[in-house]
Amino acid sequence: MIWSAAQVQPSAWMLAIQKSGYRAMPANDVFASERRRVETRKALWRWLVAGLCMMQVMMYAYPAYTAHPGDLTAEMERLLRWASWVLSLPVMLFSCGPFFGNALRDLRRGTVSMDLPVAIGIAITFVVSSFGTFDPGGVFGRAVYFDSLTMFVFFLLTGRWLELRLRDRTAGSLEALMNRLPESLERLNAQGLYERVATRRLLVGDLVRVHPGEAFAADGLVEQGETLVDEALLTGESHALRRGPGSTVVAGSHNLSSTVLMRVQALGEQTRFAQIVALMQSASTTKPGSAALADRLARPFLIGVLLAAGLSCLWWWQTDPERALMVAVAVLVVTCPCALSLATPAAMLAAAGNLARGGIMVRNLQALEALSAVDTVVFDKTGTLTQEAMVIGHAEARAGTSLAEAMQMAASLAAHSLHPVSRALLAASRLEAYAETAWTCDAVTEFAGQGLEGRAERGAEPVLLRLGSARFCGVTRDPSNMLRVYLSDAKGWLATFELREAVRAQAAQTVAALLQAGVQVHLLSGDDDASVRRVAAQVGIELVQGACSPAEKLAVMRNLQSQGRKVAMVGDGLNDGPVLAGAHVSFAFGQAVPLAQAQSDFVVPGGQLMAVVHALQLSRKTMSVVRQNLWWALLYNAACVPLAIVGMLPAWLAGLGMACSSLVVVANALRLTASAHIPKGR
C-alpha cells in the first residue's frame, strides 16, 4: 500500500478498506520472511539442478573412461559429448549463478574472496570443454571436463545449501522475537470506551485492556484483574507467573489466563525488552570479525595461478606459439581451486554434524573457526554453572522439634505452592535424612512475596503454621546474605532452612578440563559477590566478578578482548544476551531465554557443561583438518602446474586429478564425524 501523506491520512484509507469489507494488516515482517523463503527455494533448486545434471553427465562420461580403443566410434563419442554439454549448460548458467555473481562483486570492489578463483576456474574449464566438444581440432585441443566440473559445482553447492539452512533457522527465530509486540491494542478513551489503536500511538499513562492470548505491548502496572503471564522470553522462567493489581508486567510477555487493565509506564525504546534487544543488536554488529582462512588464501592463490599461466604462455610463445595458448589454458584448468574452496566448508559441516549428534546445535559455521582460537571462557553463574532449582542446605529447628519433623511440616505447606523455594523444600522432604511421618495441611493461603500460611495436622490438634520471610514469620532476621526461609507457629520460631544453589554435576570437571586445555576461565554474574565467589570456589574458578549489570558484563568482556584475548561466553539468561552477542563465540544453554539463544553460535539443549569442552576440542581438530586440506590442495597444485607447463599433463589425468583432489578433501573432513563420547549430566 502506497499513499500520499499530503492528501490522505492512513486512518481514512484504513476506514475505506474496512467499509469495503476487508481488514488491513501492517505488513511488518512479511517481506523479510518472504524474501528468505524465495532465497531458500532458489538455493535448493540450484542444488538439485546441479546434482541431477552431475549424475547424468557422469553416465555419459563413463564410456570414455572404460571403453577399449576402437569400441567407441567417433560419432558416438561426439554424441556423448554433446549430451554432456547440453546438461552442463543449466549447471553453468543457473546453478553457478551465485559464484559468478560474487566474483563480479569482488571485481567491482577490488577484493578477492574464494569465489573469484572458483568462478574463473569453472568458466575457463567450461569454455575449454565446449571448444573440445564442437571444435576438436581447434587450438584448445579435444579434452572435455564436464564430469569433474559438474561434480565440483555440486559439492560446493551442497556446502552452501547446508550453511544457508543453518543461518535461516537463526534468522527466523530472531525475527519472530522482534515481532512479539502486538501491532494494536485496546485503549480506554476519554468517553470511557475501549478503542483499538496502533501500538505506536500509545502514550505513557494510558490505560489499556489486554486480553488473554495477547502480548503486552509496553511495560506497565496492572490496575485491575488478576492473570497468569508467560515471561519465558525475558526471564527463562518456564512456568506461568501470577500478576495481580499493583504488580508490574513487561513488554513482550504474554497474558495467559484473563483480561487485565494495565497502566502504561514505559513504551517503545524505554521498555526493558527493547533496551536489551538494542544492546544485543549493537553488540552483534560490533562483533570482532575473523576473515575466513580460505578467503585469506584466495588472493595469493589467484595471483600465483595467473602468473603461472602467463609465464608459461610467454615461455612457449618463443618456441611453439601454437601450443602457447593451450598450455596456459591447461594450467588454468588444472588449478581450478576445487580442493581449496571445499577444504573449509567440508570440514566444518562434518564437525557440525558430529556436534549435533552430541547434542550441540551449531548455528554459525564460522564460529567453529573462531572457537578453535579461543583462549578465554567466561561463564555466567545462575542457570549455567548452577542449576535453576535450589536445594536446602543447612537447617535448624527449635529445641524439642526434630529437624525431620520441622521439614515435614514445612513441606506440607510448601506442597501448595509453585514457588522455587517451595519446590526445593518439597524435594528435600523426600530425602532419607528427613524421613518422618508426613503432615497434611489445609486452608493454605499464599501471600505474594512473603510466604504461606496454613493449618497443618498429623493426627492430633492442628497448628497454624507460617512459612516464609523473617518478617512474615515474626522472627528476627539473621545477619547474613544467605537466602533463608523460616517456619513459625503460634509460639514463634520453629525452624530455619538455608537455601543453596546446586552446582551442576559437570561444572568442576568442565572447568578443570578447560584449564588443562590452556584456557583462562572467568565467572561473571549479576548475583551478589559473596554467593558468586562461593560457587567459584566450589568449581575452581579464580577470576570472579559478581554484581555485574548486563552493560558491565559487556564492558568486562570488551576489556578482555582489547587485551587481545579471544573470548567465548557461556550463558543462558537475558542479562547475558549482549555479552553473548558481543563475544567471539557464544554458547547458550537449553533452558536459555529464546532471546539469548537467538544470538548464540552454539546451543546446548541438554544442559551438559562438558559440551563446551567437547566443542572446543572438536573445533581445534576441525581447524587442523582444514589446514591439512589446504596444504593438500596447495601441494596438488604445486605438483600439477609444472607438469601442465611442460605440456606433459594429459587431459584425462587433469580431470582425474581435479576429481580426486576434491574427494580427498571431503574424505579427510569425514574423519571429523567419528563421534566422541560426551558424559551425560544430570
Partner: protein, 45 residues
C-alpha cells in the same frame, strides 16, 4: 547399437522433464515443512 542414437538424446530430454517436476515440487513448498501433511489431520481448520 543404433538405438543409442535415439536413447541418448531421449535421456537428455528425460532429465529436463525430471527437473521440471522438481521445480514444480519446490515451487509448491513441498520441501519446506516435511511434517506438515502428517500433522494436518490433527488440526481443526
Amino acid at each position: 547399437m543404433d538405438i543409442l542414437y535415439l536413447l541418448i538424446p531421449l535421456s537428455v530430454v528425460l532429465v529436463f522433464c525430471i527437473l521440471v517436476g522438481l521445480w514444480w515440487a519446490i515451487d509448491r513448498g513441498q520441501f519446506e515443512d516435511i511434517e506438515r501433511e502428517g500433522e494436518r489431520i490433527l488440526k481443526d481448520s
